[in-house]
Amino acid sequence: MNAELLAIMGGVVAASVVGSLHCAGMCGAFVAMAVGIDTRVPRVRLHSAYNLGRLAIYTGIGIVCGSLGGALNIGGDLLGLEQAAIGLAATTMIVIGVVSLLRVAGVRLPRVHSPRAIELVYIRLHTAARRLSPTVRAGVIGLLTGLLPCGWLWAFALLAAGTAHPVAGALVMAAFWLGTLPVLVAVGAGIREVTGRLGAAAPIAMALVIVALGVSTTMQRSKLAFSSFGGEGAANTLPVGLPNHDEPLPCCHSKPDRGSAR
């Protein structure tokens, strides 16, 4: 894993912790539905199921977005644009962040509503989930959480797409999940006050974080290259000629030598 990806993941965790104030309010009700309903099942199991469900859907989104980004890069390459995915992702993130800031400031901008049909499907899925056994239900609610049209979540999905690699995308989303974990576990365990005083500033903080992430991603752009990620198999799906691809990942070259301990 290269240092740039690690840096991005670190940034994502930090950003995610800041933004999880929003998650507490947003997902609090779902956490209550997931872990609060059946007291006969140990809470730890329900929390685990819910959060593993989230991890699964987030990494899934990361893989899909990463792959899409990879495809975009190949297309961009043909058009003579280098690293189209990350450029596009960073730009979009900055735009989203700026739009959010403007909205906080009171500027009315055209908004996109999520289609009612999708909403209905989502409600139906939730209703179906309520009929499941507590642990499975917690897991499914976790899965469904990832499908909410949450701008914050999808900003990170954009970043995952920017990595232009399914595994790197999954790692970015896993980092996002890690950042939300403390607050969502705390909400489930009963600590709601985390959102109280800091909550008011959350929209501004989040918009700034998205902009900052977008900007830093642009700055990192030239250094970012995940072509070496995953070894030879991955190289086929990625454009050739990117820098750094000759340097193997630490996990590849430091593979433990079984005989060395002798």
Partner: protein
């Protein structure tokens, strides 16, 4: 504001508008002026739709409630809930946790959904000094743990009340607390044993594969030492129950399976640790850890099965209404029955069961007291009459002043007694424990033999082989067999409508003897039916039309004859009868004198051989007749008698009813008259059972008060549904559904259980014999032992859990 004047800038930006869903401020640019709900993002909008569509909109209400209450400390009126701080209350309801904190269970009103759980469990954040609040949603029961030097229970109660959950004292806290902590302990031990086993297995797998592929000495030594550490933890923590069991058995001078188990664990661990430190020889920690884990798991499963049956019996709610209508100055309020206190007046409506023991303060009605007396005929109750909890009101609304509540009522006392009896029950020496003695001897003998045989080869191989023998013949599968078969059988039985109070019932039912059956309510329905009538169909239809307006239990028996005729001017005369006009003619139904005086007619005398309850019907035109109400034989009774006989039981009837009635039933069931005894007192029933016990096992099936002592004295007592108080206390098996087939199911099921136990014991003993032979011959390797042992245990587990013991004899009605 300069911003507000600028075009496109919203003036709402300056006023804080919280998101309906997440309550974070909605960005000014997203505020929708006319909308009632405001959302900060699309996700919140969708989430809000989901919450409201799921009927959980209460979530938002309680969340706001919390925000309000959390903002400031309680300023509640001190007088409210002061009784919670009362010394008497504390003594009765508050228990001490090991670290000195106070623990109390409270029933909460208004607990509905997950959001309530979420809110109530927030209590420690709101009331300083409260450490924990755990809400059991199913039973609306919150367990509060608090430091009583910091806060008082009344303060906590006031906050709960303000949150919308009015708290009430709950009973049985100490009992539940003890059980929960025991449960938690067992779970922790099981988890530790499982974790140790898992780690040792991984290490063992590496070591075994290392034996084949080669592994460097340092790694091997390290792995073995690590195994020893995990093994020691498993033996010294969760495994110590076996040593304690063996020690207790030695002190009590009885044989127990824990003895060979403790021996194997002790020797295996000792040798294992020694060899791990020495760096050579076998370590047996994989076998030892698996042994501990499987045995603990089997015990836990069995205890859980027995307890869930006990829990179902313990539940007062099976006999009493969970909520009561309390009469208060401002009206009638619904509260949990457990929240009532002595002196409260409750309203009991027709069809409901009385939640308290008390006296009627207003109204009059009929009560079905069969839950206590087994007598199916409802009794009239007037002002001042005493009514027991569990009695079902059949007629009209009455008010009753509570004299005893909860576990202090008669029904409550029975439930307590059942709980006590099941706890104090002397353990039945099961098949596995009976072979423990010989088994232990055999193991010692074989160990001595192995030692002697291998001693010429040197001390080390002799000791190694003896240890191997002790470990492979450890009766793991043997000890697993009975608990697992019984646990799964008790669970299956419960699903088939049989509550079995102990695993020993199966073995007690193993050998046939004499089966005594009660008549009323067991062989018969124990309820009124029209058995004979001298009434014209037209008059019967008119009577049915009148009785449609009555809630008297007798009225129900006329339902099949109702042809929809219109009855008008219907008047009830409690205890006498009903009269009214049907199709233009006056009709009366009830007691003879009532019918005669109402219509001014004279009724001829009825046939002399009629007994039971007679109901007279007449109309003004002179049409008249009599209906005889009585008890009828259950259709499944004959089938039960057949099953009993086919299993070798001698069937006899014991009844308190008249000899003539008993003989009639016996004739229908083809039971010879001398085997059917009528006019039996409780004492004579007991005598009959004791006499029969001299000849072998006795099964008693009954439900009346007069059956109780016989049920208790019999080898196995089976209480049929709706049974009387004493029979419930005394019986070993309780039918949750009023179906006699379930007794057949029990008999067949018990046989199947015994067969399964025998099979499992045979399998595990066979394994032990093979393993012992190999070990004595010095052929067994640790790898072989590590494979053979789980295989035998898994075979037994699979055998015991896969077998269906209780098949319903027919589909549910």
């Amino acid at each position: 504001m300069s911003l507000a004047a600028a075009p496109g800038i919203d003036s709402h930006a300056t006023t804080r508008c919280p998101c309906t869903h997440c309550s974070l401020p909605v960005p000014g640019g997203l505020i929708e002026h006319d909308a009632e709900d405001q959302f900060c993002c699309n996700a919140c909008k969708v989430a809000h739709s989901v919450i409201t569509a799921s009927g959980l909109s209460g979530y938002y209400r309680v969340r706001e409630h919390l925000a309000d209450d959390a903002s400031g400390p309680s300023t509640g009126v001190g007088a409210e809930f002061a009784e919670f701080d009362d010394a008497a209350f504390v003594e009765q309801h508050v228990i001490r946790s090991p670290n000195g904190e106070a623990v109390c269970d409270l029933y909460l009103e208004g607990v509905r959904c997950a959001a309530c759980v979420w809110l109530v469990e927030r209590l420690p954040r709101i009331v300083p000094g409260t450490r924990e609040a755990r809400l059991d949603l199913g039973r609306s029961l919150v367990r509060i743990t608090w430091n009583d030097s910091v806060t008082r229970l009344s303060a906590i109660a006031r906050i709960l009340d303000r949150l919308g959950y009015r708290p009430h004292a709950a009973t049985g806290a100490a009992q539940r607390s003890a059980r929960r902590s025991a449960d938690r302990r067992a779970m922790i031990q099981l988890a530790v044993a499982g974790a140790c086993m898992g780690n040792i297995m991984l290490l063992a797998a590496a070591l075994y594969s290392g034996m084949l592929d080669g592994m460097d000495e340092t790694t091997r030594h390290g792995f073995r030492l690590l195994s020893a550490c995990f093994g020691l933890v498993a033996v010294l923590w969760p495994g110590r129950v076996f040593f304690r069991g063996a020690f207790t058995a030695v002190r009590a001078r009885v044989w127990h399976l824990d003895m060979p188990i403790a021996l194997a664990l002790g020797v295996g661990t000792f040798t294992g640790v020694l060899n791990a430190i020495r760096g050579s020889g076998e370590i047996y920690f994989d076998s030892v850890a698996m042994l501990i884990f499987l045995l603990l798991a089997a015990r836990w499963l069995q205890e859980r099965g027995v307890r869930s049956a006990a829990d179902s019996i313990e539940l007062l709610s099976s006999c009493m209404a969970p909520t009561a209508h309390r009469v208060e100055s401002e009206g009638v309020r619904d509260i949990p029955s457990n929240a009532l206190s002595v002196g409260d007046t409750v309203e009991v409506r027709p069809g409901e069961s009385c939640p308290v023991d008390g006296c009627i303060t207003s109204g009059s009605s009929h009560f079905d007291t069969s839950v206590l007396t087994g007598e199916p005929r409802p009794v009239a109750a007037q002002l001042g009459d005493r009514i027991n909890a569990g009695a079902v009101n059949t007629n009209a609304t009455v008010h009753i002043r509570a004299e005893a509540i909860g576990y202090n009522t008669r029904v409550g006392q029975i439930m307590e007694t059942i709980g006590r009896l099941s706890r104090e029950r002397i353990p039945f020496l099961g098949r596995a424990d009976r072979i423990a003695g010989p088994f232990f001897f055999a193991v010692l003998l074989l160990a001595g033999l192995t030692l002697t045989l291998w001693l010429p080869q040197g001390l080390t191989p002799a000791f190694e082989h003896t240890t191997a023998l002790l470990i492979v013949v450890c009766p793991c599968a043997l000890a697993l067999a009975t608990p697992l078969v019984c646990a799964s059988a008790i669970g299956q039985a419960a699903r088939s409508g049989l509550l079995i109070k102990g695993a020993d019932v199966f073995e007690r039912l193993g050998a046939p003897g004499t089966a005594f059956l009660d008549k009323t309510g067991t062989l018969t329905h124990g309820a009124f039916k029209i058995v004979d009538a001298t009434v014209s169909p037209a008059l019967l239809a008119a009577a049915a039309a009148l009785e449609r307006h009555s809630s008297h239990p007798i009225a129900k028996t006329f339902e099949p004859f109702d042809q929809g005729a219109i009855a008008s001017r219907v008047q009830h005369h409690t205890g006498l009868g009903v009269h009214g006009t049907v199709d233009g003619r006056a009709v009366a139904i009830g007691r003879r004198s009532f019918v005669e005086s109402t219509l001014g007619v004279h009724l001829p005398a009825e046939a002399t051989d009629w007994h039971g309850t007679l109901v007279y019907i007449a109309d003004e035109a002179g049409d008249h007749g009599v209906v005889q109400l009585g008890d009828t034989l259950r259709t499944e009774a004959a089938g039960l008698i057949r099953t009993l006989r086919s299993q070798g039981w001698a069937v006899r009837i014991l009844s308190g009813d008249s000899c003539a009635a008993v003989e009639a039933v016996a004739a229908q069931l083809e039971i010879p008259p001398h085997e059917a005894a009528g006019s039996m007192t409780p004492e004579s029933k007991l005598q009959a059972v004791e006499l029969a016990l001299d000849d072998g096992p006795v099964m008693m099936i009954g439900d009346g008060v007069n059956d109780a002592s016989a049920l208790a004295r019999a080898t196995v007592g089976i209480a049929t549904h709706g049974g009387a108080e004493a029979s419930l206390t005394a019986a070993d098996v309780y039918l949750t559904e009023n179906r006699l087939q379930n007794v057949s199911t029990l008999l067949l099921g018990s046989r199947a259980v015994i067969r399964s136990i025998r099979l499992c014991l045979a399998v595990s003993l066979t394994y032990n014999v093979i393993a012992a032979t190999l070990a004595i011959g010095g052929i067994i390797t640790p790898l072989f032992a590590a494979i053979l042992m789980p295989v035998s245990s898994l075979t037994v587990i699979w055998l015991s859990l896969s077998r269906r013991h209780f098949m319903r004899s027919d589909p549910r009605p």
